[in-house]
Structure formats: structure tokens, C-alpha cells
Amino acid sequence: MNTVVCLKQVVDPELPAWDFAIDPATKRQVRTGKPLVISTYDENALELALQLKEKVGGKVTALTLGPAGEVKDAVRLALAMGADEAVVIDDAEAPLRLGPDKAAVLAAAIRRLGAADLVLTGCESADWVERSVAPLLAEMLGAACVTFITALETGAGTVTVRRTAEEGVHVVQARLPAVLSVTSDEAIRPRLPKVKDIMGAMRKPVQQWTPADVGAEAVLPPVEVREVSVPQRTTRCEFLEGDPAQQAQALVERLQALKLI
């Protein structure tokens, strides 16, 4: 199984709220000086790919799009976790690109890599949460598409996946090649990169291309980001004091007054 995993590096979403700021010029989160991490669900996708490789063999290629100086750590971490090789598409514009633009570059790179059976992405990026890259890649590559999966098994020319849905789980069988987006599950909690694998990871091959190298072209008309604002909350919390019985009584009285119960 030849798997390409798309990894995005984002500003650590765990940063405290006071450290969160929007750059008015780019209308994106300020990245300079902030810790960057692999977007949460992308790491799950990598874990799923590595587990699949351990089960059925094959190769895992980590593919990332971003300013090369910023994303190379993510790539080395992915290699230390067990990816076989990596491709960096060096693109200073990447943090500004929306889903369709990103997908166009990634699809071109995947085509250039050749013969991927599976392309895995996170179900959404931790920053922009468009959830569009996997379905777009599927169309661009002429592949099957299933999103928000938690597990997969391979068959003859197919994969059978578990997809998280509103009312439970869908078991979906998809033809290969397929583009799958991965959500979270205990079984695919990403492994930690090991320090003992870092020197080995430094020796693994990393290709570096530009969007022009892979012949990427935007296909869909652009959408403009007009404004990104941080809402100010104005709620004032009334704290209900006393022992638990007194707190409970006070709460029930207030909820009754508001006709909520």
C-alpha cells in the first residue's frame, strides 16, 4: 500500500487565548514567534497510515505545504514517527491559501509522486476548519472519497472504513485509489516521535518542490477573506454560593424564574 499523508503545520491551538492575535494585514493568525505543531487530525492520519504500513507493508510519504523554513520540523517529526520519505512544497503563500487552492497544489504534487493507493488527510485543520481538502483531492485525482474516518481495513482493490456520522458509525467500502480524511479515536492516538529515531530521520530523503515545480494551477474561482474578528464576550457570570444543597436550590429557583425548567 502506497500512502501519502498530507500534513499541515499550524500555530499550536493550545496557546492560551491571550496569546492569540489576528494580523490585520493578512487576516490570519499571527504566526511569527509562535510554536507551530502538526495539525491535530493530520497527526491521527499519519498514525493510521503508519499502522496500516505495519500491518500490510508499503510506503508512507509525508507531504506538506508551507514556507519551507516553517514546515521542515513537522516533516522531520513525521519521519521520526516512521514515515519513509517526505515532500515539502515550499510556498510562502500557503498560510493564506484556502482549501481549493491548497488542494490544487497538493493534487499536483501527489500526481507527480505517482501511484498513490491512498491519500490521507486530517478531517479538518485546527486553524481554518474548512473540511474541504480531502473531497477536493478526491475529485482532482479521480479517487473515491470518505471523510471523518476512524479505522480502515484493506481488501482486494478496496478499503473498508468506519466513518463517524451524526447517528453513529457508517461502515463504508471504497475503491482504491481513495482519499480519506481521518478524525480521532483512541486506537489512532498518534505515537510520540522518539528522540532515538531523530538522527535516523535526519538521514531520510526529503524532496523540496515549489507549487510551480509541480505545475499547480487554481481551478476554482477565489473567495475573499474580508474580515477575521475576535468576538468579545459580555456575559457576566452570577456565582451561586453556599454548600451544594444551597447552590442547587439557588440554581433551580433561577431556572424556574427563567421558565427553563
Binding site: 521542515k72 522531520r76 528522540v195 531523530i198
Partner: protein, 386 residues
Amino acid sequence: MYRAVDFRLSDEHRVVQAAAADFAAREILPLAADLDRSGGFPQEVIRKAAEAGLLAMTVPEAYGGAGLDAVAYVIAQEELARASAGVQTIITVNNSLVCEPILRFGSEAQKRTYLPALASGRSLGCYCLTEPASGSDAMSLRTSARADGEHWILNGTKIFVTNGVEADVCLVYARTGPEPGARGLSAFIVEKRVPGVRVGKIEHKLGIRCSSTAEIVFEDARVPKANLLGEVGQGGRIALATLDGGRLGIAAQAVGIARAALEAARDYARQRTQFGRPIADFQAIQWMLADMATRIDAARLLTLRAAWLRAQDRPHTREASMAKLFASETAMWATHKAVQIHGGYGYIQDYPVERYFRDAKITEIYEGTSEIQRLVIARHTIGTRT
């Protein structure tokens, strides 16, 4: 060609930092407060640390280590200590005080026998130097080793041995000749399971509580001749060379504790409201935080410099002592300020700063007290005087 000083971390050092920080966040931090309270040895954490390659970071990959340099080592130690100084103590002893001397002074056979086991966590190491009557004056130690056919027979008592309870491999210094001081000393790799080695009194400590500290007693312990580390009479040299590296680990530990204290104090100051505004708005608090940040950066830079020298195989005794002295006193000072910023909440166990405060103190004591560090630095500054 002239090269300007470059303060950026290299690619692999940044990746090591990220990997160590991930490990600390996931495997250590959630347990840190409980480990401190229970004082129980974190068996599972150490097993995972071994799996990650954290127990033998500077040992070459050929011997099962991570093949990294001293800079990578101190970067990782800071991240681990930021989560739990107790866990990091266990790890730094294995790295600096056991793997390193075997790597530097051991025979090929000793390296092949012990390093892969120490790296993989099959064995844990401890360092047996201090005795009841020899602390700062380490070279006056009295434990004896006498040759007997194919063995050395060891007799004596070592105290304050970190990992003493759980360790399998002890690096032991003993007197092999009549010469006084360092010249009569030799170093031995002693497997704790051999008859005549037992764990004595187990200490209860103020801080780094999840690491064990024990007395180890040698009573006619028979150690194979092959387990002499280096040559007869080389013990003093091995001890001093080892402590240079050990001090880097403690300096990094102190930086990690101090950073944890700063981050906790900063977060608290931002959210704690008094007189109608966050206390971070008050200059009294701001100055404390600014001084903490400045001293911590200075401590880290001293530590990185010493580590860089060590990685280049350049002399670094003076620089390691400076790093250890300044970082440990910074840790004590910064944790003290962090408790102060927390007020009453800093004095109770609901917040982590009281743990940082207790953990910080040991860094001024072990692997050479601040007084010994000043002595070393003074000798390098003034020149040796009789």
C-alpha cells in the same frame, strides 16, 4: 573564515526539543503532581522514556543510544524537568553519570555489555560517590577495593545514591591504593545483584520525591576484574570528567524548573484579579516576572554554551560549573518569586509552584554544592593557589 555567533538551534536540536516536549506533555506532566505526593517510582514513565531513547541520549546508535550530542541532551533535559524534576533526575543520572563514563572510559566489551541495557531500560544506572564522611570532599572517600584473583573485593557505604533502590548497575568509586586523595581511587561497574551489595537506608526528601535516594552498602562484594572502569588509579579523573557532564544535566534541570515556575506565575498573574484588575497589571508583579525571564534566559545560555563546548570535545569544567551554579540559584530564586506571586495559593498543593519550590533546592546541592561550583570557578579565574 570568521563565523558570527549563531543563537539558532540546528534542525535536529529543534526536533529533539519538540519530541522531548511532546513526551513530557503526554507522559510526565499529567502524573507529575501525583508522583510528587506519593513519592512512588515512575516505573512506567521510565520504561516509556527508555523506549523513546531518553535514557541514553548521547550514546551512539551502535550501542543502542540516540546518537545525539550534549546540546540535544540539555535541551531535552530542560523539557523533562519543566514537567517533573523528579522524573528528570532519574533520567539524567542514567545518562550523565552512568552511560557517559562507560562510553568515555569503558572497554569495548564493557560498552557492548552495559550501554544497550542502560539505553533500553533493561538496566537502570546509579552513581555511588558520596559517603557519610565525604561529600564536597569527595576524593577523601573510604570505600575500599582489594584485588583477589579474578575479582576486586569492595567494602564500604555509599549514601545519597539517586536511583539507588531501583538501579541494576552501579558506578562505584573505591580506594585501590595507599595514595591519598584522587590518585588512590578507581572506578568500577558493579552489578547490584552480586552478593555483598545491598540497599540500606532509603531517604525521605523535600523534593524530587519520585526518584529514590538510598544508601548502598558493599560488604565483601565480589566484582569481576573485567569490571574495572578505565585503569587503576584513574577513578579521580573519571569522577571529575563525569561531573562536568552531570552538572550540565542539573543546570538544564534547574532551567526547566525555573521556566515551569515562570510560566505558572505568568498564567496566574494574568488571571488573578485584585483591586479590580489582573495582578499582572501591577508593576510589582511585572518586575518579578521580567527578572525571572531574564535570569532564566541567562541560565539557559550558560547551559547551552557549556553543552556546546562539551559537544565539541573542548574543555568545559569552568563553564559547566558556571551554568550549574547560576541555573540552580536562578531556579531557587525564581520558584521563590513564583510562590510569592501566587500568595497563599502558592503555599498549597492545589497549584504546582510549591512543588517547583521544593524541587529547586536540590539543584543547589547535588553534583557539587554552589560553594564547590564557586571554588571551581575561582580556581579557573584566579589560578591554582597552594
